[in-house]
């Protein structure tokens, strides 16, 4: 009998914890507002467009207006890109028709909300964020996920892809 009571209490605690987590651990991300249209992954010839929020919850459209997209799928590449852009003027990316997109979908919500988003808000430039695993899986290339991905576009179609690692390479790619 005692075992059953203890088990019931544990189950109730887990359910209560789950409910509380759902109520309090959720973020402001509204999946219905954001999207990705990718015809054939991140490959040459693929047509891509995105509607994504930045770190300040401002919505950005990336379509035929984009000449270059810088993708980060790992914390280390995100640090490299941020370190490079923090030395440049705020308009550095827009003036080149370039966008910086970071995949934060693998992060636990608590890490994302408590550490990553406040940290990103230190950056004056826009970092477009992929919260949704369903968007990330359309473009993520696991083989090169630890590298910075530079995609060149012409009217929304990918014309070139490079995988790089350093700030120097990034500078060269954006000039």
């Amino acid at each position: 009998m005692l075992k059953k009571i203890v088990l019931a209490v544990v189950v109730l605690l887990v359910i209560a914890g789950g409910v509380l987590f759902t109520l309090n651990g959720k973020d402001n991300y509204d999946a219905t507002k954001y999207s990705a249209n990718v015809s054939n992954g991140l490959n040459i010839g693929s047509k891509v467009s995105f509607v994504l929020p930045d770190q300040f919850d401002k919505t950005h459209k990336v379509d035929s207006n984009a000449k270059t997209i810088i993708f980060s799928f790992a914390k280390s590449t995100g640090h490299t890109i941020k370190a490079f852009l923090s030395k440049e003027p705020k308009e550095y990316l827009p003036s080149r028709g370039a966008f910086f997109i970071a995949d934060i979908s693998p992060m636990p919500v608590v890490i994302r909300n408590t550490f990553a988003l406040p940290d990103l808000k230190k950056s004056p430039f826009s970092v477009l964020l992929i919260y949704d695993k369903n968007i990330a899986k359309q473009i993520k290339n696991d083989k090169n996920a630890d590298k910075i991905t530079i995609v060149r576009l012409n009217d929304g179609e990918i014309t070139d892809i490079k995988y790089i690692t350093t700030q120097e390479e990034l500078k060269k790619a954006l000039n």
């Binding site: 605690l13 887990v14 209560a16 914890g17 789950g18 509380l20 987590f21 309090n24 651990g25 973020d27 300040f56 919850d57 401002k58 914390k75 280390s76 640090h79 705020k90 992060m107 636990p108 919500v109 608590v110 890490i111 909300n113 408590t114 550490f115 990553a116 988003l117 406040p118 940290d119 990103l120 808000k121 230190k122 950056s123 004056p124």
Partner: protein
């Protein structure tokens, strides 16, 4: 007197060094030592701490090293463990928390354990008089802050990234700090981005600061000997303590 908490990566570059460093810091103004548990993917930490974590693991850090280090440091300085939940969970929380108490450890800091899930271990922490340090961030809603700080013990870890607002203006953390303090008398310590240059500004309205990367940067300097690293960290601790008081 405002408090200074210093984070060091346990076992980097080696176990005996961590003990010597922690004891020296304790003698030079550090009130609490945060012994970091090296982890392969320290998602909440910056590049320097991540590097020290990886190096410690490469050098063969084992969880037992943390126990050995803690046993020595806790005799002289208030000692906490900081690590990712998987490291602790693998040790079996039911056995680990009493073990922490036995080692003289006073609390755990687990950044990837949400408050709501930590409630499952609330009794275990309380029975062993071990604090599970609560985090609050500027992104938290007032309702969530209220919920989190209600159960806070020892101190509240305020993530103090001084970001900018969407309009490009520098973010003022004082309203955030005030919003925490309206719900609790538990001291609030600020962490993230605190160093000798920022400590004076970050301590405003808070009860303590937590400094990690500034110490780890010294440890990662390959050009200095162990003695020089300890001397430089101890000097930094003195400067920080002076800056915040």
């Amino acid at each position: 007197m405002k408090k200074l908490v210093a984070y060091i990566t346990s076992g980097y570059p080696e176990k005996s060094f961590s003990i010597d460093l922690a004891l020296s810091l304790g003698n030079n103004g550090v009130d609490t030592i945060e012994l970091g548990v090296p982890f392969s993917d320290p998602v909440a930490d910056g590049a320097l701490i991540e590097k020290a974590n990886h190096k410690a693991l490469e050098l063969g850090f084992k969880f037992k090293d943390l126990l050995d280090i803690s046993k020595e440091t806790a005799k002289s300085v208030d000692t906490l463990w900081m690590g990712y939940f998987n490291s602790f969970y693998q040790q079996n929380m039911q056995l680990l928390i009493p073990k922490a108490k036995e080692m003289g450890v006073n609390g755990l800091i687990i950044p990837d354990l949400p408050h709501e899930e930590a409630l499952l271990y609330k009794d275990l922490f309380e029975q062993n008089n071990i604090a599970n340090i609560s985090f609050v961030a500027p992104t938290d809603s007032p309702q969530r802050i209220k919920e989190v700080v209600r159960d806070a013990k020892k101190f509240i870890y305020m993530v103090a990234y001084t970001g900018i607002t969407g309009s490009g203006k520098a973010e003022d953390l004082q309203p955030f700090l005030s919003s925490i303090k309206q719900y609790t008398d538990t001291p609030v310590y600020v962490g993230f981005g605190v160093n000798a240059k920022t400590a004076k500004e970050k301590i405003t309205g808070a009860d303590g600061v937590i400094v990690g990367s500034a110490f780890i940067e010294i440890l990662l300097d390959q050009s200095t000997s162990y003695t020089q690293k300890i001397d430089r960290c101890s000097e930094l601790a003195k400067i920080l303590k002076n800056e915040i008081n």
